[in-house]
Amino acid sequence: MQLTKKGNISAALAAATCSLLGLQAHAEVADNSWQIDTALLYYGESDRVQLAEAVINANKDFGDEHIFNGKLVIDTLTGASATGAVAQNNVQTFTRPSGNGQYDIVAGDTPLDDTFKDTRVQLDAQWTQPLWENVRGSTGVHLSKEYDYLSLAVNGSLAKDFNQKNTTLSVGLSYAFDSIDPEGGRPVALSKMVLNNDQFASEEAYQQAFDATRLPGSDDKTTADVLIGLTQVINRRLLMQFNYSFSSVDGYQTDPFKMLSNVDQQGITQNLVYESRPDTRTRHNIYWQSKYAMDNAIADVSYRFSTDDWKIDSHTFDSRLRFKLSENTYIQPHFRYYQQSAAEFYRPFLLDGDPLPQYASADYRLGEMTAYTLGFKYGIDMGNGEELAFRLEYYQQDPKNNGFDQPGALQQLDLFPSIKAVIAQVSYRF
């Protein structure tokens, strides 16, 4: 017999079977291995913040839809950020947030604090598995740590499929705890910035005056989120998602690095006051997303409406259109439009002599603004589940004055400058 010569013919027979039945051999092998997504992102504002961010995301299906997802993000931030103070026609001097030293801003410029330099590490882990027939459960943890900031979060959700898996209803809860401990302490709300113009008898006297505007130790906030989602297959080409989410934040939400200029009737800054925000915030979001498969393209459109008790309403429209260029390449233009109304306690400056409000912030991010993002992504399918992609986008924010009269000198100054940024990203999946 030919046993010794032929030996094990199973493999050869399996290969012959695959070509007979038109199957791809070893297709299932790739499914069981880790899928790793990596990305490097650069975000740069002209003259302001620069951010470099690296992501590694690992996904593994342990069989029977038991899925683990782990993510590591590291980013470093450098550059200058708007303090909230208004531009003036003369040089302005500011005390650094730490109290150690001062910096000057030239006439006509929006005051920026250039001391920002921070490295952040973020870790996420998520486990998803079926619990009962047509019901999946998912739970995860999140950690983000910076020099002066710590965020910890846990989440859990349930999803149930109906109607031959054409409808999925999900309910999720998330609870986050954030702690902030800025160098130099947190400013006392609406206290005046102490400037050392050699008026102090000694360094100790200055330090005493500065410390009087500071709260020692750290403070924290908690965020509870509820998210209810409905995913619906409309037809062979169209898929929709509707989410409602409720978010309740409780605790310290003031930005310890932001301030307001106290100006007189001529628009001249008399002094600077540290901002103060309410310590509760309640927000409702509704979100709609739709994906539509065409023969050579996929459209992804979403809209979000958000409203909160700080009176910030926002509308976000986002769209991506993935065009297949060839069997293994695609190009994907991206357009996003964002519009928000101002928080009720937002004011670009305080008027000297007016009574101090309970809450006030001149952070342009809480003011009225529109923003848009325009960009594209180019992806190459390298085979074997590998994909290389490049993304380049332009992001512009246009803050607006929501009805404040600019007294005297402020009329000639640009209090609401646009912020222009470039986003560049390289991603690789294997």
């Binding site: 032929k6 199973s10 027979l13 031959q164």
Partner: protein, 299 residues
């Protein structure tokens, strides 16, 4: 003329069972879940696919592709892609079995009729047929096949298993999220494990039993096929002639097991390994062990 095959659909405790007769076997499609409409569509598609293959490749039907090939009288016959793939597969099987699996050996049936009698053909009858056997004499490419005069092809050795795999593939396309079991007279393919208990529990005929006793089998995924038939043999002078013929000698393989059942990824793989095991005669078990597959060998 195409007659629509009839089928029945039966609702069971946690699945549907579609039933019909084709390829001289009782055929069963088990569909996990309780969606009657889906079960109906799947069974109908299975019937259609089964009928398509049978009509195209059966040796017993007039004016089909097989008949055109077998009566070509030395002339080339045009073939399609599916037939080319089947011929390529048969070629691999011939190579892997060192010529023991030969789809041109069907002519031997003119001499051998395994009806339980003692009608052993004469040496003369056999030696007249041997020149009409030999896979290497058959020439084919993607467009044509040419058989020498007098040659015949028979896909009987792989046809039913091939049909099971084709039907299972269609069932999986129609129902990618749930398990479907295809069972054509004991040749079985399961598309994926069942949602709840994971496996199907089915009765298959026990080849060792002279009665219709069934043994119960659990199968979660993959293919299962049986070769050999305890009831197809000849008996003369206390010598038992099994129905597995050696294409090189024209005589039954000696000391072959009565039946071999193999579990593999696909039904056609199982069927081939089972048939090749029978062709090894006394070495069947050793051969199966080498293949590192799950098997049941009955002597």
């Amino acid at each position: 003329m195409t007659l629509k095959l009839a089928f029945t659909l039966e609702q069971r405790s946690d699945h549907f069972c579609g039933h019909f007769s084709a390829m001289a076997s009782p055929c069963e499609i088990l569909i996990d879940g309780m969606d009657r409409q889906l079960a109906h569509i799947i069974t109908q598609a299975a019937v259609n696919e089964c009928q398509r293959i049978e009509q195209k490749y059966s040796r017993y039907l007039p004016s089909n592709l097989m008949q055109r090939i077998n009566t070509s009288n030395g002339k080339p016959v045009a073939i399609d892609d599916e037939t080319f793939r089947l011929l390529s597969f048969a070629d691999s099987c011939y190579q892997l079995s060192d010529g023991l699996f030969d789809i041109s050996s069907g002519v031997l049936r003119q001499a051998w009729r395994f009806d339980g009698s003692d009608n052993i053909p004469s040496h003369e009858q056999i030696s007249k047929l041997l020149p009409l056997i030999g896979w290497p004499h058959i020439i084919f490419d993607q467009q044509h096949i040419t058989l020498p005069k007098g040659f015949e092809l028979d896909f009987g050795g792989i046809g039913k298993e091939y049909a099971v795999d084709c039907v299972a593939k269609i069932c999986h396309q129609l129902n990618p999220t749930q398990s479907v079991l295809v069972n054509f007279g004991g040749d079985i393919q399961v598309t994926q494990p069942r949602a709840k208990q994971g496996f199907w529990q089915i009765g298959i005929e026990d080849p060792n039993s002279q009665q219709d006793a069934n043994k119960v089998l659990r199968i979660a995924s993959g293919g299962l096929a049986t070769s050999g038939d305890a009831r197809r043999f000849l008996l003369k002078n206390n010598k038992r002639y099994g129905h597995i013929l050696n294409p090189k000698t024209g005589y039954p393989i000696e000391d072959a097991p009565r039946s071999v059942t193999v579990a593999a990824e696909h039904c056609i793989q199982s069927g081939l390994l089972a048939t090749l095991a029978l062709l090894q005669g006394a070495e069947a078990e050793a051969f199966l062990k080498q293949q590192e597959v799950k098997y049941w060998c009955y002597r």
